[in-house]
C-alpha cells in the first residue's frame, strides 16, 4: 500500500535523473514522455486503491505516524495526482517540439520532471514540513523553467516571480515552526487532533492567517497575485502551460487542505476572509484580463480570476461548495493548461501572441479553432463543457448558502470571462491576419503537428468528456468534499482510531 | 576548586572573545577601506573558532570542536573571495568606469 503512494512521487525524480544524464542523447526527451506515461499509470493505480478503500496512508521509512513522514491520499489528493500526471504527459509531448535543444542540454527535462515530482509530493504528503519541502522543490524548478531561455522579459518577470514567492516561502516556513512550537507535531492528521487542544485559540487563528497569506501568494489570490501576471507570459509555452495548469493549484490545494483539516476552529474569521478574498480575486483577475491584449497575459489574469472561484468553494465550506471547488480545480487544470498550449500553437503559426499582430486562424486553421473553442468556452462556463458544471456547482452552492452577492459576482465574472475569450477568438481567429498571411497547420512538419496537436486534442477531449458525462466527476467531487468536511477518515487512516 | 577556576576562566574567555568580536564589528562598520572590512571579518571568523573551543570546555562536549575544525579549514575562503574582489575591483576600475566595482 505504501508503494501505491510512493510510486507516483518517486517516478518523476527517476525520470528526471535519467533524462538529465541522457540529455545529450535523443532518448532523453523520450524518457520524459515515457516516464510521464508511466506516472499516469501509477496515478491511475493510486486512484483505483483510493476509490476502493477510501483514504489510504503510508509511513515512509517504516516509522510510525506521527514520527515518520506520512503519505496520504484521499479523494482530493488522488485526483490531483491523476490530473497532474495527465497534464505532465500532455506537456511533455508538447515539449518535444516546443523546447529547443539548447534548453534540453541545460536540463529542461530534469527541471520539468522534478517540478512534477514536487507537485505530486505536495498533493500526497501528510506532513506539514514535507509539504514545505515539496513546495520548495516545485518553486525552485519553476524558477529554472521560467527563465530558461534568458530573454529580457523572462528575466524581468523572473525577478518579480522569484522575489514574491520567496516571501511566501519564508512565511510558510515560519508558520511551520510556530505550529510545531505550539503542538510539537508536524503531521497534518496529528495537527488536526492537537490544535483544538491548544489553549490559546486566538494564537491558532493568527498562525492560520499566516498560512493563508503564505498559500495565498502561491495560489495568486487578491491582493497577492502580482507575480503571476508579471511572469506567466514570458517562458516557453510548454512551461507556461504546466505553470498555468498546476502551480497555483497547488497553492489552492494547500489552502483547501489546511483550512479543512487543520484550521477549522475559527471559520467565522478565516472563511469569512476567504470569501472576501474570493470575490476580489475573481473581479480583479477578470478585469485585469480585460485590459490585456496578449493571449498569455489574458489567460494569466484569468488564472487569478478563476482561483477566486476555487477559493469561493473553500470559503463557503458546504458540501456542495467544496465539491464545486474540487471540480473546478480539476476542470481548470485541464482547460488552462490546454489554452496555454494552444497559445503556443497560435504563436508558432502566426509568429506572435499580441492580438493586434495576429489573425486569420479561423479561416486557415479550422482544427485549431475548434480545439481552441472547446477549452475557451469551457473556461467561459458555457454548457455543456466542464467549466459550466464547475461554475454551476459553485453558484448553486453560493445561492444555497444565501450568498447572493458572491453568487452575483461569480456570474458577472463569468460574463467578463466570456468577453475575454471572445476577444481572443475575434482577434486571433476571426480577424484576418494583418500581414495577410494565412497561417495553416499544414505548413508544419507532420511530426511537429503531431507533437503540438496530440496533447491539445487530448486535453480538449477530456474537457468534452467531463462536460458531457459529468456525473462520475460530480459524484466524485461530492465524495471528496464529504471527506474534506469530515476529516475523521483522513485522521484515522493516518493515526488509527482516536485514543 | 579547579573546576571552578576553569569555569571562571571560560566565562572570562567568553567575555574577551565577545569583546574581540565587538571590536572587529566596529572596524567592520567603520571601514574605511575595503580590505579593512575584510580584515575585520577574518578576525571574527577566527574569534568564533575560539568561541567554539570555549563552548566545548563549558559544556564538556567535544562536538563543538568540530565546528572550530570546520571553521579553521573553511573560514578563510570567505576572506580569499573578498580579498580577490577588493583586488579585481581595482583592476576593473582602472580599466573601466570611474565609479565601477
Amino acid at each position: 500500500m505504501t508503494w501505491a503512494l510512493a510510486t507516483p512521487l518517486v517516478l518523476p525524480f527517476l525520470t528526471a535523473v535519467a533524462a538529465f544524464l541522457l540529455r545529450a542523447h535523443p532518448s532523453g526527451r523520450r524518457i520524459s514522455v515515457a516516464g510521464n506515461a508511466v506516472l499516469l499509470i501509477a496515478a491511475g493505480l493510486l486512484m483505483k486503491d483510493v476509490l476502493s478503500e477510501g483514504v489510504i496512508a503510508g509511513q515512509m521509512g517504516g516509522w510510525p505516524a506521527p514520527f515518520g513522514i506520512t503519505l496520504v491520499a484521499d479523494f482530493l489528493g488522488a485526483v490531483m495526482v491523476v490530473i497532474t500526471a495527465i497534464t505532465a504527459l500532455a506537456v511533455s509531448i508538447f515539449a518535444l517540439t516546443d523546447i529547443d535543444e539548447r534548453a534540453e542540454e541545460l536540463g529542461y527535462h530534469a527541471l520539468f520532471n522534478v517540478l512534477i515530482g514536487g507537485v505530486t509530493g505536495a498533493f500526497i504528503t501528510g506532513d506539514l514540513f514535507n509539504l514545505y519541502v515539496w513546495f520548495e522543490v516545485m518553486l525552485i524548478s519553476s524558477f529554472g523553467l521560467l527563465v530558461l531561455g534568458g530573454s529580457k522579459e523572462q528575466i524581468d518577470g523572473g525577478v518579480k516571480y522569484v522575489t514574491l514567492n520567496l516571501i511566501s516561502t519564508i512565511l510558510f516556513l515560519s508558520g511551520i515552526g510556530l505550529l510545531y512550537g505550539m503542538t510539537g507535531t508536524l503531521n497534518l492528521a496529528d495537527l488536526s487532533r492537537s490544535l483544538p487542544m491548544v489553549e490559546n485559540q486566538g494564537l491558532v487563528s493568527v498562525i492560520a492567517m499566516m498560512f493563508m497569506v503564505a498559500f495565498g501568494v502561491k495560489a495568486a489570490v487578491f491582493p497577492l497575485f502580482f507575480w503571476l501576471p508579471a511572469s506567466y507570459h514570458t517562458p516557453a509555452f510548454a512551461v507556461s502551460a504546466v505553470f498555468a495548469g498546476l502551480l497555483t493549484k497547488v497553492g489552492v490545494y494547500a489552502l483547501i487542505r489546511m483550512f479543512t483539516l487543520v484550521f477549522v476552529g475559527d471559520t467565522g474569521l478565516t472563511h469569512q476572509i476567504l470569501l472576501w478574498v474570493a470575490g476580489f480575486t475573481m473581479v480583479t483577475g477578470v478585469l485585469g484580463a480585460a485590459a490585456q491584449n496578449e493571449i498569455r497575459k489574458i489567460l494569466s489574469f484569468h488564472i487569478v480570476s478563476q482561483i477566486g472561484y476555487m477559493i469561493l468553494g473553500l470559503a463557503l465550506m458546504t458540501p456542495l461548495a467544496l465539491a464545486g471547488a474540487v471540480f473546478y480545480l480539476v476542470h481548470h487544470i485541464i482547460v488552462k493548461a490546454n489554452l496555454f498550449l494552444i497559445a503556443g500553437v497560435a504563436n508558432r503559426l502566426t509568429g506572435s501572441n499580441e492580438l493586434g499582430r495576429i489573425g486569420g486562424l479561423y479561416k486557415s486553421a479550422p482544427l485549431l479553432a475548434v480545439l481552441f473553442l472547446i477549452p475557451a468556452f469551457s473556461l467561459a462556463g458555457f454548457p455543456p463543457l466542464s467549466g459550466f458544471w464547475a461554475k454551476y456547482v459553485l453558484v448553486a452552492a453560493a445561492l444555497e448558502d444565501r450568498g447572493w452577492i458572491i453568487a452575483g459576482v461569480a456570474l458577472v465574472v463569468g460574463l467578463l470571462t466570456i468577453y475575454s475569450m471572445t476577444k481572443i477568438w475575434a482577434e486571433a481567429f476571426w480577424k484576418p491576419h494583418p500581414d495577410g498571411i494565412e497561417p495553416a497547420l499544414s505548413g508544419l512538419a507532420p511530426r511537429v503537428r503531431a507533437h503540438l496537436l496530440i496533447p491539445v486534442a487530448g486535453l480538449a477531449l477530456l474537457t468534452l468528456v467531463i462536460g458531457f458525462l459529468p456525473e462520475p466527476f460530480v459524484a466524485f467531487a461530492e465524495a471528496a468534499a464529504a471527506q474534506l468536511l469530515d476529516p475523521t477518515a483522513y485522521v484515522t487512516a493516518v493515526l488509527g482510531e482516536a485514543p | 576548586m579547579t573546576g571552578n577556576l576553569l569555569d571562571i576562566a571560560t566565562n572570562l574567555g567568553f567575555i574577551m572573545v565577545f569583546l574581540t568580536v565587538a571590536l572587529a564589528l566596529w572596524r567592520l562598520a567603520v571601514g574605511p577601506s575595503l580590505p579593512d572590512r575584510v580584515v575585520a571579518l577574518d578576525m571574527m571568523t577566527v574569534a568564533i573558532a575560539a568561541f567554539c573551543g570555549l563552548a566545548a570546555v563549558l559544556t564538556g562536549d567535544a562536538a563543538f570542536l568540530d565546528v572550530a575544525l570546520v571553521l579553521a579549514l573553511v573560514g578563510f575562503l570567505a576572506t580569499v573571495a573578498l580579498a580577490r574582489f577588493a583586488e579585481r575591483r581595482v583592476i576593473r576600475r582602472e580599466g573601466e568606469e570611474e565609479n565601477g566595482g
Binding site: - | T2, G3, L5, L6, I8, A9, T10, L12, G13, I15, M16, V17, L19, T20, V21, A22, L23, A24, W26, R27, G31, P32, S33, L34, P35, D36, R37, V38, V39, A40, D42, M43, V46, A47, A49, A50, G53, L54, A56, V57, A62, L65, D66, A68, L69, A72, L73, G75, F76, T79, V80, A83, R84, A86, E87, R89, V90, I91, N99, G101
Partner: protein, 112 residues
C-alpha cells in the same frame, strides 16, 4: 592540575584575542591591523583551543585540537597575504610611523 593549565591557557588566549581586537581598532593602517589580526588573533585562538585540548586530554580530542591549530596556522597567513596584496594593489599607502609622517594612512574610502 590540567584544568589549571587549561584555565591559564584560556585566559591568556582570551587576552590575546582582545589584544588582536584592539589592534584592528587602534592600529593606524590596514597593514598593521593585519599584523594584529593574523598573528595575535590566531595565537589567541590557538591558545584557547590548546586549553580545550588540555582540559579534555582525550587523544581523539587532542588530535582534533592540533588539527584546528594547524589549519589556522596554515590558512591565516594565506588570508592575510590575500588581503595585503589587495590592499597593496588597490593603492593603499602604508602608514610611515609617527616620527616619519604624521598623517594617518590615506586609505581610499570604500564607496562600494
Amino acid at each position: 592540575m590540567s584544568d589549571v593549565i587549561a584555565a591559564l591557557l584560556i585566559l591568556f588566549g582570551g587576552a590575546m584575542t582582545v589584544f588582536a581586537g584592539l589592534g584592528i581598532v587602534r592600529m593606524p593602517d590596514v597593514f598593521i591591523r593585519m599584523h594584529a589580526a593574523t598573528k595575535v588573533g590566531t595565537l589567541g585562538t590557538g591558545l584557547i583551543i590548546g586549553g580545550a585540548a588540555v582540559h579534555f586530554g582525550d587523544p581523539g580530542v587532542v588530535i582534533r585540537c592540533v588539527l584546528i591549530v594547524f589549519f589556522l596556522l596554515l590558512t591565516a597567513p594565506i588570508g592575510a597575504h590575500m588581503i595585503g596584496r589587495a590592499a597593496l594593489r588597490s593603492g593603499i599607502e602604508p602608514w610611515k610611523g609617527e616620527t616619519g609622517q604624521m598623517d594617518v594612512a590615506k586609505a581610499p574610502a570604500d564607496k562600494t
